[in-house]
Subunit: 334 residues, 2 copies
DNA sequence: TACTCGCACTAGAGCGCGCTAGTAGAGCGC
DNA sequence: GCGCTCTACTAGCGCGCTCTAGTGCGAGTA
């Protein structure tokens, strides 16, 4: 910076002003300084800037490296943060790198805001984080913690999906549970409520699972094995999420079960994965971009006004009807 | 830091020594200082540390947010970087956030090393980067640029896959091209060479495509349409990568083409996606962890010795035979 | 006793910026 | 001429840390 200032014949302070795009420099000088900076290859050092400014204007995002839906969220976080003048730092969790480590990395890089995608940590820890930075939890509720919360109205999404299936004549509708996955409990509850509402208590069935392809594959094998033992297949399956739905679909399709002719499958998330299906996966869309924007705005709002009480954004999910759901098959005469 | 020092009754310098785990403090004092720091909730500020130290010991990783294979690489980068004492910063590209922006972000955060996963930039730009930071390009060659290069021996991988298919009796083997995707040119060349070597020039066929699911789906539709016009299906397809293979598989399976009975499909990458198939995708494994480790080590080596000439690591890929490849179907009498 | 040595610790400069308080000079009204 | 404002610019402190060059002190040695 001193080099630039010297070569352009101005003070360091003026260079600073120019690089921050602030008033106080003539157009002429501005251009000259920028030209010189470009020649020298100068670029402001964000560490020093950050140190001097006291504020980093940086949001840290913790995500699970292998969660496709998280990459959708990230795609929404970047532009919104940029719009509000914030930098974004990513820190991923992997099987060998836990949440605590990922979060510590963000914190030590002076992130003022923390956007945690489906954090698995205990509320007490989240609360601690909430006191240290403007923290937003996406998709996972943290009761009592000083963090904002963005999620979608799981109940509404499931209800739409169930209404859709029932309308198509389905009665034997099975739900694959998401285990400890975020939102699973709410989805399971909503499934049960919907079955009750449609007077299908007798057909209710929740198969334990997870938000993974393997879970879908396993469930598929289970159902096929039951069929081979003479039990009827369900006519529709509401999977815990898209990944699970895809695993299930692959297993069924390979076994000659035609979707949606023989069975309908509905996912949850509308993640990029849906691209895989030539006919498209009927799924409940969580608007990743909208969730991302809300999360960013929550964090920024709280940074500008730290006294804000924890807030919650509930986004309406929307059923996206594609090719994997269709009329219920005719029951064979028994 | 001053607070900690004051409360523990020592100087700031000693606190610094203790937090850097350096000799020069008694065990007793160490424990006391750490205890006080914990009480206060002090954590060293990496921005200031970085500024003072002059070195950041940080590697920046640019990746494509939606590339599953990149997340595999990231999973390998973290532990290796940690082992060597380096921090990792992630910066993703998305449709709305180009490579230049992602890289600038890393640079302004003082990354000393740059690991670029499949960069699409011009060699001239990469060369410029190479002069500014220890830069490693993964999977994409940058002729003439001052960057290290890590990739797998595409030729060997394709050859193994082709030998495998020919051994199974396949002759009508089609290759779906990866377009501008990294490694595509080499893979295409190796496919042609293998066909020639097996005296199958007459059967050679390269279908233009891309490294996406959509490309696989389109190709599937194309092949099915040809079949409906009376043309024979290929007995095996070597896809440009796993994503393309998966799209193709979905399309074929849905149309009643049974894999591998009616057609074999081989992918490339062995990305996490393979989990989707209940029978597993036969694919050419690029060892992501090994590639990641090499990339990290290249960057670190160059940081320790900037005079190093650009190096290249060629990793041997390995065919992983799973469920989507099998004996060639009997040709129907014509 | 006088000295060296090693250990535990400290003072203070400086990393590259941002920011506050200030100056110099031009323009303007009276 | 004076005071005033406005624009363009500068001096220099301080952000939180690391690091070099020390200091003080007790133990060991001649």
């Amino acid at each position: 910076m001193a080099d630039v200032a010297g070569k352009a014949g101005v003070s360091r302070a003026l260079v600073s002003i120019i690089f921050r795009n602030q008033p106080g420099a003539s157009q002429e000088t501005r251009e000259r300084v920028l030209r010189v900076a470009d020649e020298i290859g100068y670029r402001p050092d964000s560490a020093a800037r950050l140190l001097a400014r006291g504020r980093s204007r940086t949001l840290g995002v913790m995500f699970i490296v292998h969660q496709i839906f998280h990459t959708d969220l990230i795609e929404g976080i970047y532009p919104e943060a940029e719009r509000l003048g914030y930098d974004v730092l990513l820190s991923g969790t992997t099987p060998g790198r836990g949440e605590a480590k990922a979060i510590e990395a963000l914190l030590s890089h002076r992130c003022e805001g923390l956007i945690l995608l489906a954090p698995d940590a205990e509320p007490a820890y989240l609360d601690e984080l909430g006191h240290r930075a403007a923290t937003v939890s996406v998709a996972r509720r943290a009761p009592g913690a000083r963090v904002d919360f963005v999620h979608s109205a799981e109940g509404k999404g499931v209800r739409q999906a169930m209404d859709h299936l029932v309308e198509l004549g389905h009665r034997r509708i099975v739900h694959i549970d998401g285990g400890r996955g975020p939102g699973s409990a709410e989805r399971r509850r909503a499934y049960r409520a919907a079955m009750r509402r449609h007077r299908l208590e007798a057909e209710q069935r929740v198969i334990p699972g997870a938000h993974t392809e393997e879970s879908g594959i396993e469930t598929g094998r289970l159902l096929l094995a039951e069929r081979d033992r003479g039990l009827p297949l369900p006519t529709a399956v509401l999977a815990g999420n898209d990944r699970c739905a895809m695993g299930l679909l692959m297993t069924l399709t390979r076994a000659g079960v035609e979707v949606p002719r023989d069975m309908s499958v509905v996912g949850y998330d509308d993640s990029h994965l849906s691209h895989l299906m030539p006919i498209g996966l009927t799924t409940v869309r969580q608007d990743a971009v909208l969730m991302a924007e809300n999360a960013v705005r929550f964090a920024v709002d709280r940074l500008e006004n730290p006294e804000l009480e924890p807030r919650e954004a509930v986004l309406d999910p929307k059923l996206v009807i594609r090719g994997t759901s269709g009329p219920a098959p005719q029951e064979p005469a028994r």
